[in-house]
C-alpha cells in the first residue's frame, strides 16, 4: 500500500470556456495542500474533479490514486462510493449547505447512522458528542436558520467528517467569516492532518494558507503559477503573480495621502444609542465625518456596524441621540453593498440602468466616459447584465453609479469582503483616491482590522457595547 493517501496524476479539466492545465499532487498521511488563487482560477474545479462531482458539461482527464485504489478522473461515478467514507467535502457557504427544515443534530446524526453505519441510538449519542466538543451543545436542536455563520461552519464540518473520511477537502472554508471565526475554522481544519488524515484547502485568503502551512500551490486562470512549501512561497514568492498576490495583503498597502485640515463635517452624530433584539449594540456614540475623510468601523459580526451606517444614512431610526447632515444635498448620501450582484436588478443591461439614472437626475452623459476610464471599466461591459460580469467590475460600476450623483457621504458596508485580494486592493485604492478628489466623506466598515488600520484616517471599534476610539498606530500583532 503506497504511503500516499491521495495522489493525482496530470489531472486536467475541459469544458465550455474552461480549461485547467494538467495538475499533479501527492498527499501522505498528515499532509496539507492549499490551492491558492482568485475567483475563476479553477481551484474549486480541481477539488470537484477529485471528488467526482463536476457539473454537467465539464470533463476531467488524468488518473487518481485514493488509498491505493486507482480511479480514472473522467469516471466521476466510481468515486461516489467513497463520498463521506474516504473523501469528505466541506462545501462553500455552509449555512446554505444545511437542510433548512431539519435540526442541526439530526443532520450530523444521519451521517453517523447511514455513512458510518452506527445504529440509531449510537448515532444520536455520537452526534451530540461531536457538537458538544465543537462548543455547539446549545445549538444542537436549532434549525440552520437560527445558526450564525461560524456555528453553521462547524455543524457542516461535523456532518462531513462523521463518516470518518481520512481525506478532507475544504472549499473556501473562511469565506464571509470575520477574523476571530476565521482563525477558529483554520484550527478546526488542522485537526484532520494532525490525526493522520490529509487536508486539501481551497482559499483566496493568503493568511489562511500561511497558518495552515504544508504545500501551497498558486493558481491563475487554470494554470499553476508557483508551488512549494508555505514558508518559502508565502514569504519570498518567485513568480511575478505570487509577488502581486503577496502585495495585496493589507499590511503591505501604501498609506494613503494625509487628509489635510478637516473642514465642516458632512454628517455628525451625538449620543447615538441602539439596541436590537434586547441586546444593546452601542450607547452615547458621537462621531463626525468631514469631506474627504475615511472613517473605519471594525468589530465582530453582529456588533451593529451596518446598523450604525444605516442610521447615518437615515434609513434606520436611532433609539436616541441626534444626527446632523449637510442639508444642501438631497441625493448626497449613498451606500455601497457587501454583495455587488445583490444591489442590482439582474434582468437589465447595465447601459439601461445608467440611462435610467441619467434621465432621472438629468445628468450630462459626458461625465460617464472619463469616470469609467478612471475606474478601469471598458465600454463593452455596458452591454452585459450585472450577473454576467465579475464581482470586482460590478463593485466598481456601483462606485461609478454613486459618484455620478456627486455624493457628500458614502457608507461602504464591507465593500470588498467577497472580492479577491488583488481586486480588493485595487478597488479600495480607487475608492480612497476618488473620495479625496471629490471631497466625499466615507465610512468604511470591515471585519479585517489590518485593512481598516492601513487606509482609514480615523478608526472606531464596536463590539463590547462601548465605543472605543482606537489609537492610530494599531499594533500589527492584532492583525
Amino acid at each position: 500500500m503506497s504511503v500516499y493517501l491521495l495522489q493525482a496524476e496530470d489531472l486536467s479539466i475541459q469544458g465550455e470556456g474552461v480549461t485547467i492545465a494538467p495538475f499533479s499532487c501527492a498527499l501522505e498521511a498528515g499532509g496539507r495542500l492549499t490551492l491558492l488563487g482568485e475567483t475563476g482560477s479553477g481551484k474549486s474545479l480541481i477539488a470537484q474533479a477529485i471528488m467526482g462531482s463536476l457539473p454537467r458539461g465539464l470533463v476531467a482527464r488524468g488518473r487518481l490514486l485514493i488509498d491505493g485504489e486507482r480511479f480514472a478522473a473522467a469516471d466521476g461515478r466510481s468515486r461516489r462510493a467513497l463520498w463521506g467514507r474516504r473523501l469528505a467535502l466541506l462545501p462553500q457557504e455552509p449555512w446554505h449547505a444545511l437542510d433548512p427544515t431539519m435540526r442541526a443534530v439530526a443532520q450530523v446524526a444521519e451521517s453517523h447512522r447511514h455513512v458510518a453505519g452506527r445504529d440509531r441510538r449510537a448515532a444520536h449519542r455520537a452526534a451530540w458528542a461531536d457538537l458538544t466538543e465543537l462548543g455547539l451543545a446549545t445549538a444542537g436542536s436549532k434549525l440552520p436558520g437560527e445558526l450564525s455563520g461560524g456555528m453553521a461552519q462547524r455543524v457542516a464540518f461535523a456532518a462531513a467528517s462523521a463518516g470518518g473520511a481520512p481525506i478532507v477537502i475544504a472549499d473556501e472554508p473562511t469565506k464571509g467569516l470575520d477574523a476571530p471565526r476565521r482563525d477558529a475554522v483554520v484550527e478546526l481544519l488542522a485537526r484532520t492532518p494532525e490525526r493522520g488524515g490529509a487536508l486539501v484547502t481551497i482559499t483566496h485568503d493568503i493568511d489562511v494558507a500561511r497558518r495552515l502551512g504544508g504545500e501551497v500551490v498558486i493558481l491563475r486562470q487554470g494554470r499553476v503559477v508557483e508551488r512549494g512549501p508555505a514558508r518559502q512561497v508565502l514569504t519570498h514568492p518567485q513568480s511575478e503573480y505570487g509577488q502581486r498576490l503577496l502585495e495585496a495583503e493589507p499590511g503591505r498597502w501604501p498609506r494613503p495621502a494625509p487628509l489635510g485640515e478637516r473642514q465642516a463635517a458632512v454628517v455628525s452624530a451625538r449620543g447615538l444609542a441602539k439596541a436590537r433584539g434586547g441586546r444593546e449594540l452601542f450607547r452615547d456614540l458621537s462621531l463626525a465625518v468631514s469631506p474627504g475623510e475615511i472613517v473605519g468601523v471594525v468589530g465582530p459580526s453582529g456588533c451593529g456596524k451596518s446598523t450604525l451606517g444605516d442610521m447615518l444614512l437615515g434609513m434606520t431610526p436611532a433609539d436616541n441621540g441626534d444626527i446632523h447632515r449637510a442639508v444642501d444635498h438631497r441625493f448626497g448620501f449613498q451606500k455601497l453593498y457587501q454583495d455587488p450582484p445583490a444591489a442590482f436588478s439582474p434582468h437589465w443591461r447595465l447601459s439601461r440602468l445608467l440611462d435610467d439614472l441619467v434621465r432621472r437626475h438629468r445628468l450630462d452623459r459626458a461625465a460617464i466616459g472619463p469616470l469609467m476610464a478612471r475606474l478601469g471599466l471598458d465600454d463593452h461591459l455596458l452591454a452585459r447584465r450585472p450577473g454576467e460580469i465579475s464581482g470586482g467590475e460590478l463593485q466598481r460600476f456601483a462606485i461609478l453609479r454613486v459618484l455620478l450623483l456627486e455624493p457628500c457621504f458614502l457608507f461602504a458596508d464591507e465593500p470588498t469582503s467577497r472580492l479577491d485580494p488583488i481586486t480588493q486592493r485595487q478597488t479600495l485604492e480607487l475608492l480612497v483616491e476618488l473620495a479625496r478628489e471629490r471631497r466625499c466623506g466615507v465610512m468604511l466598515v470591515s471585519h479585517d482590522p489590518a485593512l481598516i488600520e492601513r487606509i482609514c484616517d480615523r478608526r472606531i471599534a464596536l463590539g463590547d457595547g462601548r465605543l472605543r476610539e482606537v489609537e492610530p498606530e494599531l499594533d500589527p500583532a492584532l492583525a
Binding site: F331, K335, D339, A342, S345, H347, D356, A398, L405
Partner: protein, 274 residues
C-alpha cells in the same frame, strides 16, 4: 429569437427566450386564424343548412359543419375572437387588482398586509361557482358579467404569489440601493418587481384564461348562461357534446383551440426565474 416582440414589452419585459418565442408564435398564429378567417371566408357563423348537418371537413367547408349545418370554420373564428376577448378581460380583472394589492401588501406590510390577507382568505372561501351562478341569474345572457364573476375568485392567486415575492424583494439590497439613488415607486416596480413577477403572473394568466373559458363551458353544461346563436368556445363544446360519438372531430376543435391557447400562454410565461 422571435421577431414579434412588441416595443412596449421591450421596455417592460426582458428579451424573450426561445421557449417564450415558440409560445408567442403559437399565440400569433391563433390570433391570425381568428381575425383572418372572417376576412378570407365570408361564411356567416349563424347561417344554418338543415340538410347538411355534421358534414366531414371538405374543400367547401374546411372544418365541416355542426349539428345545425353551420360552418364550423366561421363559428370557431368568431368563438376565438369572443372567448379571447373575454378571457383577457377575466384575466385582467383578476390580475390587475391581484398584482396591485399584492404589491401594496408585500411592500407596506404591517396592518395593511393583515387586512388584505384576511380579505383574500375570506374571498377564497366564497364559493366562486355560487357567485358566478348568481351573476348569471342576475344578468342572464350577459357574457361580460359572467367572465368578471369568474375572476372574482381568481384574483386571490395573483395576490398571494405577488405578495410573497414582493416581501422578499422589498427586503433585498437592490431596492434599497435604487431608492437611495432617487428612483420613485413606479420605476422601482418596473425595474425590480415586474421582471421578477412576470413569469409567475403570466403562468397564472395562462391557467386563468383556460379556467375562465372552462367555467363558461361548465355553466353551459348545466344549461346556465346559454345565449344562442353566439359562438363561444366553452358553449361550443357543450353544443357539440351530444354528437361526440357521431362527429368526435367537431367537438375536438374547440378543445384543440383551447389547448393551443393554454400551451402558448404557458410557454410565453417562460420558465420560472428561480
Amino acid at each position: 429569437m422571435t421577431t414579434l416582440t412588441l416595443h412596449a414589452t421591450r421596455r417592460w419585459l426582458p428579451a424573450l427566450s426561445p421557449r417564450q418565442g415558440l409560445g408567442a408564435v403559437l399565440l400569433a398564429l391563433l390570433l391570425a386564424f381568428a381575425w383572418l378567417v372572417p376576412w378570407l371566408f365570408d361564411a356567416d357563423p349563424a347561417r344554418q343548412q338543415m340538410t347538411r348537418i355534421l358534414q366531414l371537413p371538405s374543400l367547401a367547408e374546411p372544418l365541416g359543419t355542426d349539428h345545425l349545418g353551420r360552418s364550423l370554420l366561421a363559428r370557431l373564428a368568431a368563438a376565438v375572437q369572443l372567448s379571447f376577448g373575454m378571457a383577457l378581460l377575466s384575466v385582467a380583472s383578476a390580475a390587475i387588482p391581484g398584482v396591485i394589492l399584492g404589491v401594496m401588501a408585500g411592500w407596506r406590510g404591517g396592518w395593511l398586509d393583515r387586512v388584505l390577507g384576511s380579505l383574500a382568505d375570506a374571498c377564497l372561501a366564497l364559493p366562486g361557482l355560487l357567485l358566478v351562478l348568481l351573476l348569471v341569474a342576475i344578468a342572464p345572457g350577459n357574457f361580460w358579467a359572467l367572465y368578471v364573476g369568474i375572476s372574482l375568485v381568481l384574483w386571490i392567486e395573483y395576490f398571494r404569489v405577488v405578495r410573497a415575492r414582493t416581501r422578499i424583494l422589498v427586503a433585498s439590497p437592490q431596492l434599497e440601493a435604487s431608492r437611495l439613488l432617487g428612483f420613485g415607486p413606479l420605476a422601482l416596480f418596473r425595474r425590480h418587481l415586474w421582471p421578477e413577477l412576470a413569469p409567475q403572473v403570466l403562468t397564472l394568466a395562462a391557467f386563468g384564461a383556460a379556467s375562465a373559458i372552462l367555467a363558461m363551458a361548465a355553466l353551459g353544461f348545466v344549461s346556465v348562461g346559454l345565449r344562442p346563436p353566439t359562438a363561444e368556445l366553452g358553449l361550443m363544446m357543450i353544443e357539440l357534446l351530444p354528437y361526440y360519438h357521431e362527429a368526435p372531430w367537431a367537438m375536438a376543435q374547440p378543445i384543440l383551440v383551447l389547448f393551443v391557447l393554454v400551451l402558448s400562454l404557458n410557454l410565453l410565461a417562460g420558465r420560472d426565474p428561480r
